[in-house]
């Protein structure tokens, strides 16, 4: 694990010596996020978002535990218990707004984290396992966030649950009984609310466990970096502490400034007004939309409107799940020898002018009403989404001629590296 020049932990005091012998927890922390973890010296601010995601996970767990002390998972009183929390619990409104907006910001930082990984192809060997665990974390986050949104038992909670669990009905043969089994009834009701609450409390700890695996897997090859050239020597790295703790500290400050502006001044902007109406199974809202962070996948779901052999709804469900599952296969779809998008001219063009605008379009169309022209636009965007990952990426990764890479991270940062060997890295290394 880690590089040979990593600093070794040496306990100084009696207590730390005792601990190091009995349970070397300080050593673990030192090697994981302390001076014992050498990190490439050229990381940009895009590498802050992993730490930020960890911060928001902890924030969600802490605020969520407090909210659960006041919440009652029963359809008769759930909505009223949330209002009680907002009005009569000291600082209850702050806890709830922090938790609700914290979920949104968790997804903001995760999306940036994921797309950083996509641009710098961080999923490539030797970091496939980190990426795979990351996609699992993203799926768990989506499940957790969906169930959390049901808990206040507002109109969007109820109808969102109705629509999302209704997707399972599209599965042939087992669909309808599966949906009934998942909900504990024929429609979202008390049984569903109770199990959603139970799982919403459980899954964050599963996520925390996966985060530990994610970091564990990261520490075997070490962090990637913007050049995509692997660490060669000690001059390529800096100890995580104090260099990156300081950089992450500043990044966290900026993120909190934006986050707190939302919590205190725009707390309901990312939510939906209908969720301040108590759930009513007899009254369907005009537009049922999920939370904003599901919009791209909701747009893909709704893009399939034509029964081709299979019913359109089943196509939509398959495509929606495939849109995320395809990320699992990226390490094997993108076989190009060079990682960083900075040295991949063709890849870079498709990333900035293809994938990013298409994701923006899908975000927009997922929140728009299901009518023209939004459906047609999301159909084009959906087509590109699948083409990008499944067709374009495999093809360009085999035909592209990458730009010459710097010899080392040191050279990329300092302009020269005394150990540079003429010609090395000038041609991409075949893998």
């Amino acid at each position: 694990m880690s590089f040979p020049w990593a600093k070794e932990y040496t306990p100084q005091t009696g207590l730390t010596k005792f601990l190091d012998e009995k349970l070397p927890l300080p050593r673990l922390v030192y090697n994981a996020v302390g001076a014992g973890y050498p990190v490439p010296r050229n990381l940009s601010y895009f590498w802050n978002f992993g730490v930020l995601a960890g911060f928001f996970l902890v924030l969600q767990i802490v605020t969520g535990v407090v909210l659960a002390m006041h919440y009652a998972a029963n359809t008769q009183v759930a909505f009223a218990s949330v209002e009680h929390l907002m009005r009569d619990v000291n600082w209850g409104w702050l806890m709830r707004y922090t938790h609700a907006n914290g979920a949104s910001f968790f997804f903001v930082v995760i999306y940036i984290h994921i797309f950083r990984g996509l641009f710098y192809a961080s999923y490539k060997p030797p970091r496939e396992m980190i990426w795979l665990i990351g996609v699992v974390i993203f799926l768990l986050m989506m499940a957790t966030a969906f169930m959390g949104y049901v808990l206040p038992w507002g109109q969007m909670s109820f109808w969102g649950a109705q629509v999302i669990t209704g997707l399972f009905e599209a599965i042939p043969l087992v669909g309808p009984p599966l949906k009934t089994w998942l909900l504990g009834g024929f429609a979202p009701d008390n049984a569903a609310l109770n199990r959603f609450f139970s799982l919403h409390y459980l899954l964050p700890f599963v996520i925390a466990g996966c985060v530990i695996l994610h970091i564990w897997a990261l520490h075997i090859p070490g962090s990637s970096n913007p050049t995509g050239v692997e660490v060669k020597d000690q001059s390529d790295t800096l100890p995580f502490h104090p260099y990156y703790t300081a950089k992450d500290g500043f990044g966290l400050g900026v993120a909190l400034l934006v986050f707190m502006t939302f919590v205190f001044f725009l707390p309901n902007m990312l939510g939906h007004p209908d969720n301040y109406i108590e759930a009513n199974p007899l009254s369907t809202p005009a537009h049922i939309v999920p939370e904003w962070y599901f919009y791209p996948f909701y747009a893909i779901l709704r893009a399939f409107t034509f029964d081709f052999i299979l019913p359109a709804k089943l196509w939509g469900v398959l495509a929606m799940f495939s849109a995320i599952l395809v990320w699992f296969f990226l390490p094997w779809l993108d076989k190009g020898p060079v990682r960083s998008g900075h040295y991949r001219p063709l890849f870079r063009k498709f990333f900035w002018f293809g994938l990013i605008p298409v994701m923006a379009v899908l975000f927009y169309c997922g929140g728009a009403p299901a009518e023209e022209p939004y459906v047609m636009i999301s159909q084009i965007a959906t087509a590109y989404y699948f083409l990008h990952f499944l067709v374009i990426l495999p093809i360009i990764s085999s035909i592209e001629r990458p730009d010459p890479l710097p010899f080392s991270i040191t050279e990329a940062v300092l302009g020269s590296d005394k150990k540079a060997v003429l010609g090395e890295n000038a041609e991409p290394v075949a893998t």
Partner: protein, 284 residues
């Protein structure tokens, strides 16, 4: 192998979604989308011209306005609309003294139990009681209102886009349906028991105009009770009922942001100093 399968799956999804696109585009090109009355006549809500004291990041409550709004709710709205999540004790936040809140509570009747017989009866409310519903249950509410249940107003200002503006616009927006509407969309004409209001989502609502004439409420503080004034006051009151902590939230936000800004600047200098020896300038 994975790449080959991937390409096939990718092309498959693309083919199906493009089929859907082609059929959708054909439909869009051949069938005209009918204009709807809602689309043509619905208007965006707006607030009173002077705005509200609680608007903006530095907003504060105008307690006199909230008290007037409470009076409008009590004398007009409460005949049909409940305020389930607000307790009478909460009125203390509107600047009423403890004695005034007690006296105000005594003017409301709430369902209670006769302590001697155990039979249900109405009793005088206490400050700890919540505002009573005008109807004993939803069936009674529907029966008394042409089958349309008057919604609870506690959260109305948060349950609609631009809630306080929406309430003001709706209350002042009742009008005769325009001739062009009746001409082009005869189906959109208000049916029996419905009233035309361009700020309502589907243009016709079951609530009769609640605020109909100037001076409908005689304000205790002598403010001229115009329709616009009463509507603005009750919209302000309902903004308070929807989020009594609104102003506390904004006022807490400033020191929090100030502290964070200070801490972030410190963090920036700390980062700069720590990196000073590690990051020589690029020589290119």
């Amino acid at each position: 192998m994975i790449r080959l399968v991937g390409i096939l799956i990718g092309l498959g999804f693309t083919f199906v979604v493009l089929l859907a696109f082609v059929t959708g585009a054909y439909t869009a090109a051949t069938e005209e989308v009918a204009e709807t009355a809602e689309h043509a006549f619905h208007e965006e809500s707006h607030g009173p011209e002077a705005g509200y004291s609680f608007d903006g990041p530095f907003g504060t409550w105008n307690l006199a306005q909230l008290q007037r709004g409470y009076q409008v709710y009590k004398e007009v709205c409460s005949a049909c609309h409940s305020l389930n999540y607000v307790a009478i004790r909460d009125l203390a936040q509107l600047g009423y003294s403890e004695a005034q809140v007690k006296a105000e509570a005594a003017t409301w009747q709430v369902p209670g139990v006769n302590p001697d017989t155990g039979e249900s009866e109405m009793r005088q409310a206490l400050p700890t009681d919540y505002f009573p519903s005008p109807y004993p249950n939803a069936v009674a509410a529907a029966a008394a209102n042409n089958n349309a249940i008057p919604p609870d107003l506690s959260l109305m200002a948060k349950a609609r886009h631009h809630g306080s503006d929406y309430i003001y616009s709706l209350l002042t927006g009742y009008q005769e349906p325009p001739a062009r509407l009746l001409e082009e969309f005869p189906d959109a004409a208000p049916g029996p028991g419905l009233y035309y209001n361009p700020y309502f989502a589907n243009l016709n609502l079951a609530m009769a105009p609640p605020i109909t004439s100037d001076g409908q409420v005689t304000y205790a503080d002598g403010t001229d009770a115009t329709i616009s004034q009463m509507s603005a006051d009750v919209a302000a009151f309902l903004t308070w009922t929807a989020e009594p902590t609104l102003i506390k939230r904004k006022q807490t936000g400033w020191p929090v942001l100030g502290f964070l800004l200070f801490a972030t600047i410190l963090a920036w200098f700390a980062k700069k100093q720590i990196w000073a020896d590690a990051k020589p300038r690029r020589k290119d």
